[in-house]
């Protein structure tokens, strides 16, 4: 069999507390660290959203205790207009980067990709460890902007120039706050690039005997495709943040044109291009949102298959569809810039790939639905969230169809329609993907089951609650409700305020429901029902580890050998209704897609 002895010397288990839990080289610990980071980030981001929603619904009312967070930002506990924007910017930055890019990709991917390919660890464990700590320090830098005198930047997570590039003259938080934001994001980029390096080399070079590319589970494919996207997208964002920092502190003028006057003062910059920032940012920004959703697609596919007891209608078509989403995602970024002042012909040019990208998304959804047909669907919390993902992704995807057309975008750009669209796909669908992964893989990660009753309550409140919050955003947008307003003072917006109040109440209640998840997570970690090695009767390699949680080198003395594609469920003539990848049991080749 496989001789591990020569190798064991390189990969012996750590012994000290620091090397086991803090500066660990073990991809499983790193995955859990990323999950912990995302958990802290999502709680902060959620509280920020509560503050925003309360302020929008009851604008000049004091929010008890707010002045403790910021005396400048909330004198007498009443949020100032700038503080609203600062909280909004932080909410979005934290959520997009430290939750949606971190949890589905860095957390679950780090933990499960090496196991699903049949490896002991990733090939560059030191870089992997560095990737977490660099990301974590990025998070600390971002959080520190809450505590500088002027507060965090208020320019939105998109930080459009010249507002972001001119400096303190353009508003509160636009001095140090912007620089801290840019440094934080720059660090995040480095962390992601190091992560992508590991993910790609793991997938290509570390597969165990018998594990061809087509025998990889869909979650592994999703992480692989995402890491390739991350490689190219973050490599463009980092230069953009460097240019931004230089404009800010070094007096350059990459993004600031001449002749700008703020507070009656002519600004010293000249010649820069404000649209250049938008092009650079969105070239990153659009692939970024696919980076946020593709791992969720992989996780949801994986969870659904295990719970449907049958493979997808076509494994390869799903892989090709996810791959086409990745490729097309680079060609559509201008749809964020239809009315930006760029050449209107470019707007038309960008709208066609944007409409076309609907096709692979539709294929994915149809394959999911078509696979549920005729299956033996099992309902548990993980599969509920996976099904919820499908419903949310349909809803969010459909609203994207409006925004893909420049002429309709004239009406909907920068309104709540856009906010509703991206919250449905990101804040709900992607988060549901994280939840599905959590409930599904928690037993493997911690050796205990999460409580199903609490899980189901969590699902129902979140599913209904999320629709109550974000569906109305679309109505607001159609009515012309502009986004990023801290209050609604325009005449035509007054009739919409009651709807905002409804949304706020829904948001607060749905947010409270997440505490059930938090309790479940922590309680089950220590006192949950002990889990078997394969509680869901899954077939992929994570369910064949010798212990649960897996040992330090994942598979013990010998690496597994793989004999089939990953989704041999309900196979006729098999001894059980599933055949594990590691089982030498012969399977009719017609059933084996690999």
């Amino acid at each position: 069999m496989h001789d591990m002895s020569a190798h064991a010397a390189e990969h012996h288990a750590p012994t000290s507390f620091i090397s086991k839990h803090v500066f660990s080289l073990d991809h499983k610990v790193i995955g859990k660290q990323y999950y912990g980071l995302a958990l802290v980030a999502v709680l902060i981001g959620m509280v920020l959203s509560w503050l925003m929603r309360i302020h929008l619904a009851w604008t000049n009312y004091p929010i008890p205790g707010l002045h403790l967070l910021s005396a400048n930002g909330a004198p007498g506990n009443v949020m100032t207009p700038e503080y609203y924007l600062q909280l909004m910017t932080m909410h979005a930055t934290i959520m997009v980067f430290f939750v949606l890019t971190t949890a589905p990709f860095a957390a679950f991917g780090n933990y499960f990709l090496p196991i699903q390919v049949g490896a002991e660890d990733m090939p560059f464990p030191h870089f992997n460890m560095m990737s977490f700590w660099v990301t974590f320090s990025g998070f600390l830098v971002l959080m520190s902007s809450f505590f500088v005198s002027d507060g965090p930047t208020l320019g939105g997570w998109t930080q459009y120039a010249p507002l972001s590039a001119i400096g303190p003259a353009s508003g509160p938080g636009q001095g140090t706050g912007v620089v801290l934001w840019a440094i934080s994001i720059g660090l995040f980029c480095v962390g992601q690039l190091l992560g992508s390096l590991n993910f790609i080399t793991t997938t290509l070079d570390m597969r165990t005997k018998g594990m061809s590319m087509w025998r990889l589970p869909l979650s592994a494919w999703a992480w692989f495709i995402t890491s390739v996207m991350g490689l190219t997208a973050f490599a463009v964002l980092m230069p953009a943040t460097i240019l931004l920092i230089l404009d800010h502190v070094a007096g350059t003028s990459f993004f600031v044109p001449s002749g700008l006057v703020l507070n009656d003062q002519l600004q010293p910059h000249s010649g820069g291009s404000t649209l250049l920032w938008q092009h650079l940012f969105w070239f990153f920004g659009h692939p970024e949102v696919y980076i946020a959703i593709v791992p969720g697609m992989g996780i949801v596919s994986h969870v659904l298959i295990t719970n449907m007891r049958r493979p997808m209608l076509s494994h390869r078509v799903l892989v090709y569809a996810m791959g086409s989403l990745a490729v097309l995602s680079y060609m559509v970024y201008g749809h964020h810039m239809f009315v930006s002042g760029m050449n209107p012909v470019s707007s038309l040019a960008f709208s066609f790939p944007t409409l076309i990208i609907t096709i692979p998304s539709t294929i994915v959804v149809l394959i999911w639905m078509g696979s549920i047909y005729g299956s033996k669907l099992r309902i548990n919390t993980a599969s509920l969230f996976a099904l919820g993902f499908v419903s949310m992704f349909i809803s969010g995807g459909v609203s994207g169809f409006f925004l893909a057309q420049p002429s309709i975008d004239i009406m909907l750009h920068a309104t709540y329609f856009v906010v509703g669209h991206f919250h449905l796909v990101m804040a709900v669908a992607a988060i549901f993907g994280i939840f599905a992964g959590t409930y599904f893989w928690f037993p493997k990660m911690f050796g205990r089951m999460m409580d199903e009753t609490l899980g189901k309550i969590h699902f129902w409140l979140s599913f209904v609650g999320a629709y109550c919050i974000f569906m109305p955003f679309h109505y607001l947008g159609i009515a012309g409700n502009v986004r990023r307003y801290q209050a609604f003072v325009d005449d035509y917006l007054q009739p919409l305020i009651p709807l905002h109040r409804f949304i706020t109440i829904a948001a607060l209640l749905t947010g409270l429901a997440q505490l059930i998840f938090l309790y479940n997570l922590f309680h089950s970690r220590f006192w949950g029902k002990p889990a078997t090695d394969n509680p869901w009767e899954g077939t992929s390699l994570e369910w064949s580890t010798p212990t649960t949680p897996p040992p330090h080198n994942n598979f013990g003395d010998k690496l597994p050998e793989v004999f089939h594609d990953p989704y041999q469920y309900s196979v006729e003539g098999a001894t059980r209704d599933y055949v594990m990848q590691t089982s030498p049991e012969k399977v009719d080749p017609a059933h084996d897609e690999a």
Binding site: H2, A6, P123, I200, T201, D205, T208, G271, L276
Partner: protein, 227 residues
């Protein structure tokens, strides 16, 4: 420079060679076993991870410099304040230094590789050319610093003009990556001296260095054309 003769590394190095086709395993880490049975669509050979990894790294560096290039092109076209910048002469000399260092690196790589695989025995200083490469690399960075000094003497600083901004930016970021490459080369020499060097590490580091060279040639063209 080391004067003692080292034994060629044993197990690590052999792992990196192409295994015989009948072996079925995925290189790099100890899973070399003879094949038994018929595995459809299973590769018999996988490259060591650092070989794939280095291309991943180079791809992302390429994307970053592509972003900087497009920023330069757009910025130049967006306003009339662009002033032509004459490249300091020393840059041409620095380019020659870097090209020479790629040459010396190749010589060094072959010598060390040959020594490690046992093909060239009794070599007194197998890593000599690697040390020369390191030296040339350091000279290059020093030369870049001199180029900046020369520009500063002419009154051209980072924010003086968009052309000078891009000059400092691109050369500085390239120099940073070159320093990284020097770090990698140092690590290679260090590992070689302790007989723990893998061929894949040596190759990957060399690829990186040559890429820095090619990138510099590209930047020279870009700066020369555009600035």
């Amino acid at each position: 420079m080391a004067t003692t003769v080292h034994d060629p590394p044993k197990i690590e190095e052999r792992r990196d060679q192409l295994p015989v086709i009948s072996d079925s395993g995925n290189g790099g880490r100890g899973t070399l076993v003879p094949a038994s049975g018929n595995f459809r669509a299973v590769k018999d050979y996988a490259p060591p991870p650092s070989s794939t990894g280095i291309w991943v790294v180079l791809a992302s560096i390429t994307m970053s410099f592509a972003a900087f290039t497009s920023a330069l092109i757009v910025r130049q076209g967006s306003s009339l304040d662009w002033r032509h910048l004459s490249l300091p002469r020393i840059l041409y000399f620095n380019t020659l230094l870097l090209l020479a260092s790629s040459f010396t690196l190749e010589v060094g790589r072959r010598q060390v590789g040959g020594y490690m695989s046992g093909r060239k025995v009794g070599m007194a200083h197998p890593a000599r050319w690697l040390y020369i490469t390191l030296f040339l690399g350091l000279l290059f960075v020093a030369g870049q610093y001199i180029a900046w000094q020369q520009l500063r003497a002419e009154g051209l600083f980072l924010a003086t003009n968009p052309s000078s901004s891009f000059f400092y930016l691109l050369t500085a970021i390239h120099a940073l990556h070159v320093l990284g490459g020097l770090g990698g080369l140092t690590r290679v020499v260090h590992k070689f001296n302790r007989s723990t060097l893998r061929k894949s590490t040596l190759d990957a580091t060399s690829h990186y260095w040559h890429f820095m060279d090619a990138l510099w040639v590209y930047l020279m063209f870009l700066l020369w054309f555009k600035l």
